[in-house]
Assembly symmetry: none
């Protein structure tokens, strides 16, 4: 696989417009009743008509057998090597709560937890306290003041929250405090590199202050922290390929991932129709659009086969509205599989279709996992999709003479 540098050198200005439509967790598994997957069972006449004029295949998000999280799965679709460009858990959590992370910030994922009378962890999740309690406790922790540093506390769901430390010269080379076990005490943060010692001291001081403030509460009387991470410095997608890039998504996590690679983010209402409306309104302002549809993943995680089918059908009904805009390239895929049967992300390759007037249609007439096996794209690394979209939009010039 050629490097991004090679593609950057080949990128040329061109009018070609590209739409990457990602149905999160699109790939599925057969249900017992008729052996069809969610995508195969869904009634999707518009995508079926489109694939007949497209090339298709399946992508492997990270590598054979690897079940990806949202971060690596999206980075791969954006054309980045998901193993070389790992995004720390703390950063993903900060993106998920829509926090505007600076390059020097260190972010961590945190849990409210319960310590017993002997100082040992009795519940790593503090009995999954209600989110409202979490919000209240985060307000309390926001009173913590640290020397020369700012601390930002943002509640998540149930017992989860995010802590961001802001000071010059912080390092993310520090160890977790969460021992991932009960009956043992929380760990102290340790520097994994000598330059990280001041950061470790700062975080330990924060935890000591938090323990003081939370001491009177039950069951959430302490905090556990892990996944300390800084914002990765990725080459920006728009600069690599010389185009104006935009992300349309209703969940902050995905807008955050798009921001990591420099996309402008366009916020939208909750429905797929809202997203396509925003696409239309902004059509002239950008060359590349990433559209993210969440419902396929959440229904898959819930094990709701029928609901996942309906989300696919809802998306299908909007395909003509995208086609009306006459994109030069339209790719439809998922970031990974989330089979309802597994109620979780999975490692299964993800169906993908790529429409362009300059393709050799594969003769596949329905969009589904097994149909895409017969496509000319074969099963390929997800990071190879982006340069192919660029080529089909006539945005790459000749390599060598």
């Amino acid at each position: 696989m050629p490097s991004l540098d090679v593609y950057h050198e080949l990128a040329i200005p061109a009018p070609g417009k590209v739409v990457l439509l990602v149905m999160d967790g699109l790939g599925g598994l057969p249900r017992d009743s008729d052996g069809l997957t969610e995508l195969e069972a869904a009634h999707s006449p518009n995508m079926d008509a489109l694939i007949a004029r497209s090339i298709c295949g399946l992508h492997d998000p990270v590598g054979p057998g690897i079940t990806p999280g949202s971060g690596p799965a999206h980075l791969a679709l954006f054309g980045y090597d998901p193993i070389e460009n790992q995004v720390g858990r703390g950063v993903l959590e900060a993106l998920g709560v829509d926090f505007d992370l600076k390059p020097t910030d260190v972010a961590a994922r945190a849990n409210y937890a319960t310590l017993d009378g002997r100082g040992l962890i009795s519940d790593r999740r503090a009995g999954r306290i209600p989110t409202e309690t979490n919000v209240h406790l985060c307000e309390i922790l926001s009173k913590i003041r640290l020397p020369d540093a700012e601390v930002f506390i943002r509640p998540g769901k149930e017992h989860r929250f995010v802590v961001i430390f802001r000071r010059q010269n912080l390092s993310d080379k520090i160890s977790d405090t969460d021992p991932q076990a009960t009956g043992v005490p929380p760990r102290s943060v340790e520097a994994l590199d000598p330059v990280a010692r001041p950061t470790a001291e700062l975080v330990n001081r924060f935890i000591a202050e938090a323990n003081k403030l939370l001491g009177g509460y039950r069951p959430a009387n302490t905090v556990l922290m892990r996944g300390f991470a800084k914002h990765p410095q990725l080459p920006l997608l728009g600069e690599v390929y010389g185009m104006r890039t935009a992300a349309i998504a209703s969940y902050p996590m995905y807008l955050g991932l798009a921001k990591l690679v420099g996309m402008e983010t366009l916020t939208v209402g909750p429905t797929i129709a809202n997203e396509i409306e925003v696409l239309r309104e902004n059509w002239d302002r950008f060359d590349f659009f990433f559209i993210h549809v969440k419902g396929t993943d959440s229904s898959g995680e819930d094990g709701d086969f029928e609901r996942k089918m309906r989300v696919i059908e809802e998306m299908d009904a909007q395909i003509p509205a995208i086609q009306d805009l006459k994109p030069d390239v339209l790719a439809i895929t998922g970031d990974h599989s989330t089979p309802a049967v597994l109620k979780a992300h999975s490692w299964h390759p993800v169906p993908v279709l790529l429409y362009s007037r300059y393709c050799r249609p594969d003769g596949v007439t329905s969009f589904g996992e097994r149909a895409c096996v017969r496509g000319s794209l074969g099963t390929f690394p997800a990071m190879n999709l982006m340069p192919q979209m660029m080529a089909y939009a006539l945005r790459l010039t000749k390599f060598g003479a």
Copy 2:
């Protein structure tokens, strides 16, 4: 992909004869009338009968989405990584005019151009002067004498020519003089590395002399130079695999590329039948033959779908003559795609068939882009073809015990 070193260690002497038949720019795109590509529409009963006894697939010359030039596309077919082994523009131009480049030579692509009264470039191509004028001007420039160095001037077509500098210790790490713009003066050559300073001085002196000699001419009163390059030092194909290699082509560029990897070049008349005749005459002298057919590419570049079909049909008629020689391995492919629809090289994967009595035929019965999608070779990097041809010719021994 294992390295050439690995394959070199596995290479053993064997009687197997291998023919690599390259129809330049073979891959195409569907025409509107019936949705068939050039290769699909061509009547090619001999290749269809052959593919039924072959394995097939498509190759990606350089990488996903990358449109290759002839240089990298051929190096990949010869089994070299086309990104790690880039051939400079000056070298390709020298090969194209059949100049016998030494490893110490530095070659550059040059244009005759027009300077206005203020010394600014008014036409980078000197009005595309006739080739005869070019030949005359090259004779004049051939009179230039430089201290301790030889200079060779070879005309190309219209305003294009090639300059080769010969002296010990020359470097190709020098900048272009062509600013690729008009209304600005030509640039001086600058050393991009301290060791290249004497080379930069030499080339600047050549340009000063050229300007003196051309000063009286219109419109070609100066020269612009770019793509300074030395002959890359590639492992020789015959040495890697321990076999006698020959190239049959009617265009010097492709004979030059074959020379880069150490093939003996056999010159031929202009027709495909001439090429096959040369193959027959030299059959006993070599183990490996690279046959290059140009017409598929030039017709594709001209946007002439019908002519490209006819070239394929002309080639097909010669297949029995190749089969009469009983090659152990016969691979038929292109170096890249040149769809008539695009009138240019493109990034589309290239169909390939590989015949050997030791293959598991794929059940494909016609040679075409979409038919090859169903082949067992899948879509694979072009550089992987050569070692497979060697294996099918029983020229590689066991790896490990």
